[in-house]
Symmetry: C2
């Protein structure tokens, strides 16, 4: 029998086993979306570097426009034009204005813009201002966006498209980011064959290998499926040793039941350290974790639904932690469509489909994979209950 | 002046302009996570192909175990062992049992499993059964997972890791998926330079190009930044014609204000069709959309915050629709930390930062990009209001 711990305790041990990886690389800004910044991004200069107009119109001294209306427009002398893409080479005195296009620099002295549609060029260099403007109106002042020396995005931030825009504006063409987490996925079991093969005898196609590899990839990791290992302890030992050296997370599936052919736990114990072997949860009991050197190792059950549930509960948070992130669990509230009895002394994870505001438990024997693919998430039933009643309000953790 | 339409009407026109693309490709199953299935995936066979055990233990006739206890265990004759990975070559009669490992086939006649820990091997081929088992207990029957001919994942489904697992179990090694949406991003404006360059005069670094390219990439599209085009109508016309032929979505930024240098709308009108030019929204008024052939074209404002808001409101849904998907908007409820006046007759989008359950409007002049990078989402203020009061309960649409 396995000496089991709770799912929450298992998660704590997995996260405590995560090393913050110092693997850093420099990537072109255009490839940095979704990556995690390895060092603070600091503004090297004021942004914008000069005060500029946000509209097409006339730069003015706001005080010259107070009280302006179409009926009584003050007339300002056109002192010049600041062409798009050019700096302002002159300054304004009271009674003067300057044509400035969107993005253009305001001449010295100007402190507001009047939009083109609120002015009329009378000819002879005179502009009639038909609407008042307030100081700062339609202007971005120097440094409004960022001041030189200001941290624009801190180390550890996952870069959004908007961050990429901000860094581009500040002149970053490359950024230093955490390297993608490398994951090796190994399937174990004599009975497994590749999904392209036709099963002979009692062989079954390995679905955990592709499923777990895809799940890591969708979580942003660089995951490689490293093949199927037969139930031979020496072979497994060699494969675990070799692949642990190539990655930050080694994922095994199968080979961790307490049955006669269990070997992963013994191999892990010989190569490194076992954090735990066995979780008081259904499905997912024969799950183990530990480390080989600084590589985190998680052994998932062979049954696909159990493997995926434990992946979701333990490995997703670990993948986030390996990138210095804290996973945001997505939950919705719903009412159980049927009672979910649970009285076996283990926490239970019940896969459900959402239908409106109802959570419908799916017949998810832990050996099945197709019903799991149709589920939207799962409900946790604590170990100290007799289960949940029909219509109970539950949190559904979304896949 | 632009003839403006509402943001909702603009979204309807953009989505109506999306063609359902018939571009389909076959990819290895391992690369199909997150892709959209192009045709129904159907089970070609019963899964599992035989009834199998979910535990290590003894296959029995359940009726032989009724009333069993440790004190009064029925004795069953061990008829044989089904080794892992082998088919059962014998059948059970009443009074008999067979050793079966997890995943092994049940012999004909057996209808339940007794776990190893609920039985004791007495020697001489006799097994004491210490706990009763019910028919079907610890067994997956043939076809429980999927029946031959059943649709396992319908065309149009975005493949999750669990779908990949289900398809692997059913022997799919390649799947037919929609090709990734190709997006070309063009920045327009004489004043723009590459983010790696140092601005001279009134030049500014192009941040919309990298930002919009990254945003499309994070949304799963295959986005290419195709460079900056100066404010020259013939040059723009050539670039739009050339790049529209290479993609399903052509994104422009800048060049769509009603100012003197506006050219994108005229080019679009010459090359194809303009759906609309101008939206009654702040920021984002000078936004346009149309098509060139079957390629959707969206022209975003030059101001980065305005460009990103309109990207979020119009282009994200369009990217989803181009993959046959309906975008799920993520919203949270919050209370405004300060009043947000808005009485200019246009719908207003106010970027906010979330602090607990409070939405704090950020100073987001539409020319700024750094404050935008720090925002968590935005609030829509309808055009027919005077704005929102402090403490108003609002839906924050998350970026």
């Amino acid at each position: 029998m396995l000496k089991v711990i709770s799912l929450d305790a298992a998660l704590d041990l997995v996260l405590a086993g995560v090393k913050t990886w110092a693997r850093v690389q420099s990537v072109p800004l255009g490839c940095a979306g979704g990556r995690v910044l390895a060092q603070d991004a600091v503004a090297g200069e004021d942004l914008p570097a000069f005060s500029r107009s946000m509209v097409d119109g006339y730069a003015v001294l706001a005080s010259d426009t107070f009280g302006a209306s179409a009926a009584q427009p003050p007339l300002l002398r056109l002192a010049g034009e600041v062409k798009m893409g050019e700096r302002a080479a002159f300054s304004l005195s009271p009674g003067e204005c300057a044509a400035v296009w969107t993005g253009g620099e305001l001449p010295q002295g100007a402190d507001a813009m009047v939009m083109l549609e609120d002015a009329e060029a009378l000819g002879g260099g005179w502009i009639a201002i038909e609407s008042p403007s307030a100081p700062g109106r339609n202007i971005v002042f120097r440094g409004d966006d960022a001041k030189a020396g200001e941290t624009v995005a801190p180390a550890g931030k996952r870069l959004s498209a908007r961050d990429i825009g901000a860094l581009a504006a500040l002149g970053y063409s490359e950024v230093s980011v955490l390297s993608e987490t490398r994951v090796c996925v190994l399937s174990t079991g004599d009975e497994l064959i590749d999904c392209a093969e036709a099963p002979a005898g009692a062989q079954i196609r390995d679905c955990n290998g592709p499923m777990l590899t895809a799940a890591c990839g969708l979580a942003g990791a660089k995951a490689s499926f490293c093949g199927r290992v037969p139930d031979d302890e020496d072979t497994l030992l060699g494969a675990m040793r070799r692949h642990a050296a190539e990655c930050e997370l080694l994922l095994l599936s199968g080979g961790s039941s307490a049955g006669a052919k269990d070997a992963a736990a013994r191999c892990l114990d010989r190569l490194g350290e076992v954090f735990f072997h066995g979780i008081a949860v259904k499905p997912g009991k024969p799950t183990l974790a530990g480390r080989i050197g600084e590589t985190l190792v998680v052994g998932l059950p062979g049954h696909p639904a159990a493997a995926y549930m434990m992946f979701h509960a333990l490995v997703y948070p670990a993948l986030a932690a390996l990138q210095g992130q804290k996973l945001q669990e997505h939950k919705v509230s719903a009412r159980l469509s049927t009672a979910a009895p649970s009285n076996h002394g283990r926490e239970e994870l019940v896969a459900v489909r959402l239908e409106g505001d109802r959570a419908v438990p799916i017949a998810a024997k832990s050996g099945l994979v197709v019903p799991l693919a149709r589920a939207d998430g799962y409900v946790r039933i604590p170990r100290d209950t007799e289960g949940l009643m029909k219509d109970a309000l539950v949190d559904v953790i979304l896949f």
